[in-house]
Symmetry: D2
Subunit: 375 residues, 4 copies
């Protein structure tokens, strides 16, 4: 963590504060980053990761609700780490000043702000859904809004690094995958791609921590409403469904229609996916495992667990890992596919940084060498 | 709550303690109850419910680990409510002294203790799995133990009140259903019974609070291991699977093989079931709803929620209700069936009391008029 | 629970819904209750308790935010238990129709609505702070609002049943104590009253579950903000301070000035008080215990725990009990006084019902015979 | 994170596993670390921090319960990060092989194993209480065991870095402070040292997350026992009391006797201290703040919050920071001093690494540049 090294010399001094502002990473050689939507949970996680990134520096903390307020007053964990105040969501000006713009904003905003001219000046990594779905009609049907820049969809790259690494490197407009899709797709992909399961039988039952619901003040997300409770929501209609279907459809070689049900769990972070599918034919344990090894054996951030070990969100919390495994059920001729990850890291900010690293020619894991925090 | 009424006159006096011991329900006209395994979570819940039951009195608090210790020292919520000390698991003696014996014990114990002679003296309500499964071979395969009293299985009645009410009334040996099976069966039953779904496509994804894991000291159940975590366990091998298959098989009219996956959720109480199945033919919303209304319209403890409302465990906590609903997914031609209940009440102690009421000719809801506790 | 008994006959029938509306308690002989502020956490708990009360029936569910909406759509635990829709906060009309009005509303509202004429028609039990403090200047200083009905303060009775039982019985305007004051005062009272501690050294460190923060949508109360966190708030300035000082001052025989610090704990319900004071002179364990026994030995809802046992909120949850105990620290010549209760029951709705019982000549514990719910 | 950098090249390859075992930090120039008690929560946190430390490598994972088992099977967050198996607690052999030994073990074990000869070969950082208290009689009275190496106590250094930095650097036997003492002492120290408060009036009310209770399987620490509950424990008798008294006594210049009460909070990590004391004389806000600035203005890991902001555990979780602040209460002439930290980091493993850095001449914050994880 070069920046901190420079920032804090460790000698006793009361000018700590000022030293921090002036010190820090050499601006040359550093990727200049601007964040639009830095005051949501995903935006704040992006700040946490980038502060620990040796090759990037944040120069713009964008926010809709907190313009003018010091960032560390919104998130007090950043006290004495971030001195900047929040700025507005001015993508025009941002494009002049930064190398890459992250948008961690509600659906529609990135599409309304981005343009070819902006993309000619800065790369854009969009954490919203605006550029994830290639078929604009599907996007507009599921999201219920008109797409402001359909002409930019084709040029956008879907940033699931383990599947699209080579296409991501040259991308200028990067669609960062949704949290549920990242965990769902990675859990199921190898068996679909290898044609071992019948893709028409895929059912995905997903469970998410509450940070996925965002930081806006809603009665339904109050502590006493979420704590000691579990519920399904968006049954048969959640917006992440077409995103999962499109990506798994590429693996299957044809359009798919799957069942996807998200649930809200009383915990801060983590997504667990339990997916079900029928085997095309009797397949042996070894054959299924070989498929996972084939695609993930060399992947750092996807850990294929040992036989019989179920993924648990506690083992990946705070890190960029996705733990996956499966269980063959010969009685029903089905396979149960499971995946666990941190929805704010690999499901949002971590994957966004992983994409940034690829887009700027850095080692993919730069700044993401985070050991999961337990308990 | 007649007993309390008598117990506490309310006048100021310091002989409160003694008054409590001597006062209380008239023993005549009261059902005398003995509990074997009163110091587990289900056993303690049984005590909570029976203390508030106007027609029953507990005369035996059985325990394996706490013999001789005051019950209220094991569960301090019972301080000044229960003065008795824990006794051993002597079913012989118990049968002489009580009208009904509840066994809230590990698999195998009830079968090893019960006998025709005991059943001639007292009714037995077994909260373990010993007498739930009619096929002893299936029991022995899934539970990995030999059944000590196979000859008593035929005479035992499966105590899912809403389905077996008439058979329960005359029963002397009652097999109280498991927590997962109660919620799973009630969520799916109407559509299977009416032949609206293909029973070979049933997949049940269940989520349970941690009280279901019991009160024994295991590292895996420590606060820091369970909190901020969700995991699947017993995948494709959980012991409640054959119980669900048997009961739904009766509804389908033939043996079934289903997928069942339980999950551990960081909350104390509650089970949520999310079940999936393919429709036999295109069925309308109304047709599916009519099936639920047909079987549950007159049932007090099963609440069929309004269209679009998903069951949540918080709305049934502390009560004997099961909230059920379904969502038709025309895209996939599947229906998602959901149920929520309190695993310690309707999933264990509450249903056991409901069965006791039926077996002793009382109103089925006596002592179970509990408004769910929220938050 | 007479009402439920009548309400649900248990026979199979699909007219359950209608039967519920028409059935229920005989209106004659029943206390007619109106609730202003029925859609907050305290208001909802009041509904839960009154639904289980054999001598009261709710005829008015008042709400500011949900007028016209069915009550069971706001709190779905009430589905099939309450069919009524929410009405507005019209105290004039209410006074014509009910025997008692509960106000579970923000500070100032009850004072603005109540009047001598209303009190001549109905009794009022105010769960807000408007009539708790006798010195209107103190009220206005700490609450920062002008008191709309100072002339009614003298006639109001402070409803801490264990201390003011006789004054409560004839009251027409009842000031229901705050949650922190109830637990704080009951924990400390005996030693102050008996002059065993120096009241100028009293320090009260209190911890509360999050339901005490109310149900309005605020970012600070979102699940992810409260979960996995503990903080102090309102340090040296919390509004419950003068209420505690006034009541303990009566016990001490002179005005007191104490330190009170509340904390927010990641749990739904419960308040724990840890209070410190210096002994006036060396006092023996027995002498201190005798003081607690003197005042609480005959009290049903205050349980003085055995020597060495610390109160815990889990043992009183869902009930009207307050568990208290103390620890003598000879090293420091201080005594640590502790109390635990459910902030929504004894700290709000339960105590309000206890007061109602006293005001209507019922047994004080009617409808409050609730066994604590654990886990 | 040099080691990771070397460990994972990032190129696609399926030999990931083997590369990891062989690759890793150059052993020359690296501090070789052995951990006795690596399978407790503090031990595991030490592993997490050292894996991310650029100048240290763990060569011995000691454990009493898991000898021979792979470390990543005990803590699955370490899967693919740690390949080593657990070894026994052989300090003799360890001393031959490592530069520093950490003991994260129950009281008494370190004292029984350590010796002058071992200290001549390796430095020892003891996370237990064995060498924290200078007066062996006090240690034996509060811990109830005989001290096995009283002759080594004098040479041991109390490792509260912010207070003892210079003495720590040359230390060979380092007594790492307890979690409660670290947060308590740092919260109160400046006002005691500056003589602004009367040290005889200090009362410390502390609240801790459950990881502080350790990982051994006890019923009292099961999820359902801790969740939705708060309690005090060890009232007037907790073992951390004399440690706090000794250190604050040095600041006061004379022996002190204080009140200390710990509480168990339903969260994984974090300690919050709320301390009370009477001002010696009327002191102004500015005067108190100046005292905190004097001692902590240049300290990186102690953050003095802005006026009116209360410390919260969520803002320091996963980091080595301690957030402190105070509130002057002119009504009572008392000051409320508050501190929040992560009990496993600054309260245990983080401070141990901070001490290691000082003892080996590294920048004090090496490997500890961790941004707090929220939510």
């Amino acid at each position: 963590m070069v920046y901190n090294y420079k920032k804090y010399t460790g000698e006793k001094t009361v000018t700590k504060g000022r030293r921090r502002k002036t010190g820090g990473k050499e601006s040359k050689n550093m990727i200049k980053v601007g964040i639009i939507g830095a005051t949501g949970y995903a935006g704040q996680e992006l700040v946490r990761l980038l502060l620990q990134h040796p090759k990037a520096e944040i120069v713009w903390y964008g926010s809709k609700s907190y313009v003018g307020q010091k960032y560390c007053e919104v998130f007090r964990n950043m006290f004495e780490l971030v001195d900047a105040a929040c700025l507005d969501d001015n993508m025009e000006e941002l494009a002049e000043r930064v190398d890459v713009i992250f948008t961690a904003t509600p659906q529609g905003l990135c599409a309304s702000l981005v343009s070819g001219e902006i993309l000619s000046k800065a790369k854009v990594i969009d954490l919203s859904a605006d550029f994830r779905i290639k078929d604009v009609a599907v996007y507009e049907k599921w999201y219920g809004i008109a797409h402001a820049k359909p002409q930019l969809i084709d040029g956008a790259v879907y940033g699931l690094c383990e599947l699209n690494r080579e296409q991501i490197k040259p991308a200028r407009l990067l669609a960062n995958p949704g949290c549920y899709p990242t965990c769902s797709i990675l859990s199921v992909y190898p068996l679909v791609k290898e044609g071992l399961i019948d893709p028409d039988t895929i059912i995905i039952d997903a469970k998410s921590g509450t940070s996925g619901a965002g930081r806006s003040a809603k009665t339904a997300n109050l502590f006493c409403e979420v704590n000691e409770n579990i519920k399904a929501y968006g049954v048969a209609g959640h917006r992440h469904t077409p995103e999962i279907e499109e990506q798994l459809g590429y693996a299957a070689g044809r359009p798919l229609c799957i069942s996807f049900t998200p649930h809200l769990v009383p915990m801060n972070r983590g997504i667990l996916v339990t997916a079900y599918a029928s085997l095309k034919r009797g397949a042996a344990e070894e054959e299924l495992r070989a498929a996972y090894e084939k695609y993930y054996g060399g992947e750092k951030f996807v850990r294929v667990l040992e036989n019989g070990v179920c993924p648990e969100t506690r083992w990946v919390e705070g890190s960029n890992y996705v733990d996956v495994n499966f269980k063959l059920d010969e009685r029903t001729n089905r396979v149960v596919m499971m995946g666990a990850m941190d929805n704010l890291v690999k499901g949002a900010a971590g994957q966004a940084v992983q994409n940034m690293n690829l887009m700027f020619g850095l080692d993919e894991s730069t700044g993401l060498e985070l050991v999961p925090v337990f308990p």
